[in-house]
């Protein structure tokens, strides 16, 4: 059983035109290029990638905050992209988002109470602001404050309370802790885990930090240049990554252990532009795999099962590195 099912999601942005919009259009930016996954109820999928990987676009397109280019999203059986405005609004109550930047995602002119009351009024729901604040670990006195009076961690708690106010089943958490200090980050991650257990929430947890994802996700999908290159249960992907990109990403995380005897794989080069993705396997120009061959530059490897439940898009996923 799944709550959220994403099938072949594609989102392209039209290329910019030079000459004040009159010139030839540049190549479209393929932000998301055929992404599929499902999330069972009550579970967390960690969606990991670096800048330009398309992870944020996936989250926003699923909620139809952006219109897709093609593909399908089923939420509890409803075709999200096929709904009219009224039905979409009704569905929105069940799927919410927590944004990365707690500084720009709260209206500076609204008190915490106004911010939390607004979604309740829109959806004609009864709910107590005090109870919500309590649930996210804020004192009731915060209701009268404005965002500028709050610390980053407190703002993010308000952002979480706002998402929870309409009692959703599914929450997209878009880098919810990456703007926070380490000690506060731990508080917010624990809060998200507690709320999930208490409310049986389903999360799509978008992050660039594999260590953070390890502490919250049941399953992990790794994106590179608009495509999922590996997807597996969390324990599996951390113990036995199959895609060379995942391996490099894991080895690049700085470990707080001076004796870590990790064989660090330092990738050469930059992340290519999603407007001009490389031919064949999008990762092949940076790939450190010893078996890398001409085939990688011509033939895009499909995302295929390597072991049951563990998918990777690499011609040589079975080979040791």
């Amino acid at each position: 059983m799944t709550l959220v099912e994403v099938r072949d999601l594609v989102k392209h942005y039209a290329g910019e035109r030079s000459w004040f919009g009159l010139g030839r259009a540049q190549a479209p930016v393929r932000a998301v290029d055929g992404v599929s996954f499902e999330i069972p109820p009550g579970r967390t999928l960690g969606l990991v990638g670096e800048s330009g990987s398309g992870k944020t676009t996936v989250g926003r397109t699923i909620l139809r905050l952006q219109e897709p280019t093609s593909g399908k999203v089923l939420f509890d059986g409803n075709d999200v992209f096929g709904l009219d405005a009224a039905r979409l609004r009704a569905l929105r109550r069940r799927m919410q988002i927590v944004f990365q930047d707690p500084y720009s995602s709260l209206n500076p002119r609204m008190t915490v109470e106004d911010t939390l009351r607004e979604p309740l009024e829109i959806h004609r729901l009864k709910g107590a602001v005090a109870a919500l604040l309590d649930e996210v670990g804020l004192d009731a006195a915060f209701a009268k404050r404005y965002p500028h009076e709050l610390s980053g961690g407190q703002r993010q708690r308000v952002g979480i309370a706002r998402a929870l106010s309409v009692e959703p089943q599914f929450v997209v958490c878009d880098e919810p802790v990456s703007a926070l200090d380490v000690s506060v980050q731990a508080q917010v991650l624990n809060l998200l885990a507690d709320l999930q257990a208490k409310r049986r929430l389903t999360y799509l947890f978008i992050a660039h930090d594999l260590a953070v994802v390890r502490h919250i996700a049941d399953d992990v999908a790794v994106m590179y240049l608009g495509k999922i290159v590996e997807r597996a249960p969390a324990a599996e992907i951390y113990a036995q990554p199959r895609h060379p990109y995942t391996r490099a990403l894991l080895s690049a995380v700085p470990e707080p252990n001076p004796r870590a005897t990790s064989r660090r794989i330092v990738l050469a080069g930059d992340i290519p532009s999603p407007a001009h993705p490389p031919s064949g396997c999008p990762f092949h120009p940076r790939c450190p795999h010893p078996k890398k061959s001409e085939r990688c530059g011509t033939e895009a490897p499909p995302l295929r099962p390597i072991t049951p439940g563990h998918l990777a898009a690499c011609h040589f996923a079975e080979e040791p590195m």
Binding site: I216, L249, P254, P256
Partner: protein
């Protein structure tokens, strides 16, 4: 920040770790007297000694001869630290022309050499590029090239990789390691990331609320963190090698710089604090082997029992 003291030895990679608002950036800016006055002011009695000279007492022309020449700095955000209307070559060459009075042609050759040193492909072409034509990782390499052009003895790197992706961060850290070894330069690495100092510093200074709370050789700090803040911070870091568990969180938040608590500045968040901690601030107490901590637990270790 007040009463911050530490030593940096020739060729040493030293880490300064702390969260936002701990004073680590102000510390680094003060070394080169880059803190605007007012509102900032350095208290009398402060001393920043560089090779026997007090930088705080140096007249402006002599200070300028040190700044960017013998002590160089790189910043967190490479896009805002580079001038968008000059080529990267011009910006790298500028310091060489000012400080070392080399000709334009020689400075340009030096810029190309520096770009090659920091691992930028096709340096002969890149030298004429503008910052917007480069990726974030490339820009940070250019910043490093700018800082290194005069062969400084000290490089201050303030969160040099925070704005970068993980795989690019790994490249830049590896580059800094290599340059520090090859050029025998002291590196002051300022970061919020304990993972970064673990792999790239020999000694670490931990700051909290404007104070140095612990200093130690890197291995000792990670094996025997003594200040409860250091221990709490270490436990709060999500670990890639640990199974999915609840993270240890430090309750509360860093106090504002206008409202430091009395006594030990960490005591409202400390699981071991007792009356003495609220009344009297501990000095940096010596634990031996170059390890110090600003905590009364050093003198009363039997109190290391959580009260909640």
């Amino acid at each position: 920040m007040d009463d911050v003291s530490f030593d940096l030895y020739p060729g040493e990679p030293l880490g300064i770790v702390g969260e936002s608002g701990c004073g680590k950036t102000v510390t680094s800016l003060s070394i080169l007297r880059l803190v605007p006055e007012p509102p900032g002011h350095v208290l009398p009695g402060s001393l920043i000694e560089f090779e026997g000279r007090n930088l705080l007492a140096l007249p402006a022309p002599e200070l300028r001869a040190v700044r960017g020449n013998q002590i160089a700095m790189i910043f967190q955000e490479p896009m805002t630290s580079l001038n968008p209307v000059f080529t990267v070559g011009d910006q790298i060459a500028e310091a060489a022309i000012i400080h070392q009075h080399v000709s334009r042609a020689a400075a340009r050759a030096r810029a190309i050499e520096m770009l090659r040193l920091v691992g930028i492909p096709d340096p002969d072409e890149r030298v004429d590029h503008y910052p917007h034509q480069l990726s974030g990782g490339m820009r940070q390499r250019v910043m490093i090239a700018m800082a290194l052009v005069c062969h400084p003895k000290v490089l201050i790197a303030d969160e040099p990789t925070t704005a970068l992706d993980v795989t690019i961060q790994a490249q830049i850290l590896e580059l800094l390691d290599r340059l520090q070894h090859e050029l025998g330069m002291a590196v002051l690495l300022i970061t919020h990331d304990l993972g970064v100092v673990a792999g790239h510093a020999d000694r670490v200074v931990v700051m909290y609320a404007g104070r140095v709370v612990e200093t130690a050789p890197t291995e000792a700090l990670f094996e025997r963190p003594t200040h409860p803040y250091t221990a709490g911070l270490l436990a709060a870091v999500p670990r890639i090698d640990a199974p999915r568990t609840r993270l240890h969180a430090i309750p509360g938040q860093v106090p504002a710089a206008t409202a430091w608590p009395p006594g030990c500045r960490f005591h409202p968040r400390c699981p071991y604090a007792w009356e003495k901690c609220a009344a009297q601030e501990p000095p940096l107490l010596d634990i031996g082997m170059g390890h110090t901590a600003r905590c009364w637990l050093v003198t009363e270790p039997e109190r290391r029992v959580p009260r909640r």
